[in-house]
Amino acid sequence: MLAHEMAFASSYITAFAVEATEFPDLARRYRVSAVPKTIVNDDIEVLGALPEPAFVDQALGAPPETPHPDE
């Protein structure tokens, strides 16, 4: 699981794999109607199983801007 890979790589990240059907209260709270659905810090939602770059961007926010090589 990508979130687990991220957690293992960073001491700031903790990742839970949550079995949605066993915790209907959590599934309701985060409006889980399809899986996988990832919730980051209670406020970011990532829907579906995305390719790694898209998942990382959505989960962590867009990457910091890098100056254009011509500038």
């Binding site: 890979e5 899986v35 990832t38 919730i39």
Partner: protein, 147 residues
């Protein structure tokens, strides 16, 4: 009777043999009011016989609130993976809520292999640098179903 077929046991034994450090499955459970704790226990109990580097530490969720808080666990069944590096027990920060069956069983095995050093991290260079830039506590909850 085992929940894992003989063939799968042999395959797992082979994968676990590549582990370079011990992994602990910190299993949070309670006796009453937890429908799936028993099944989770049964699943976890399948693993230590397949590798002497895998152990289970059972934690009573009701009696040991301190440990639950330490791992950010607020419901059961829950599993936190630790590993030993040098003489130190380290938190892998990989967790599971609910029974690790089906898809989540595969995730559990992969997490054990990662924490145990049996496989390299599966992150691209780009992702690794994004993750390395994270500088505040971040909790990810990935909702899945067994199938």
């Amino acid at each position: 009777m085992s929940l894992i077929s003989t063939d799968d046991q042999a395959r797992l034994r082979e994968e676990f043999a590549k582990m370079t450090r011990p992994v602990g499955l910190v299993f949070f459970t309670q006796t009453l009011g937890c429908e799936t704790c028993h099944l989770t226990h049964q699943v976890l109990n399948e693993l230590p016989p397949l590798s002497d580097r895998i152990s289970i530490e059972e934690v009573n969720f009701v009696l040991d609130g301190e440990k639950a808080a330490q791992y950010g666990v607020d419901r059961v069944p829950a599993i936190a993976l630790t590993y030993v590096e040098g003489d130190e027990v380290k938190d892998s920060r990989m967790r599971f809520l609910g029974t690790p069956a089906g898809y989540e069983f595969i995730s559990l095995i992969r997490a054990v292999l990662l924490a145990g050093g049996a496989r390299p991290p599966d992150l691209s260079e780009a992702a690794r640098s994004r993750v390395a830039a994270v500088d505040k506590p971040t909790t990810m909850q990935v909702f899945t179903t067994p199938t």
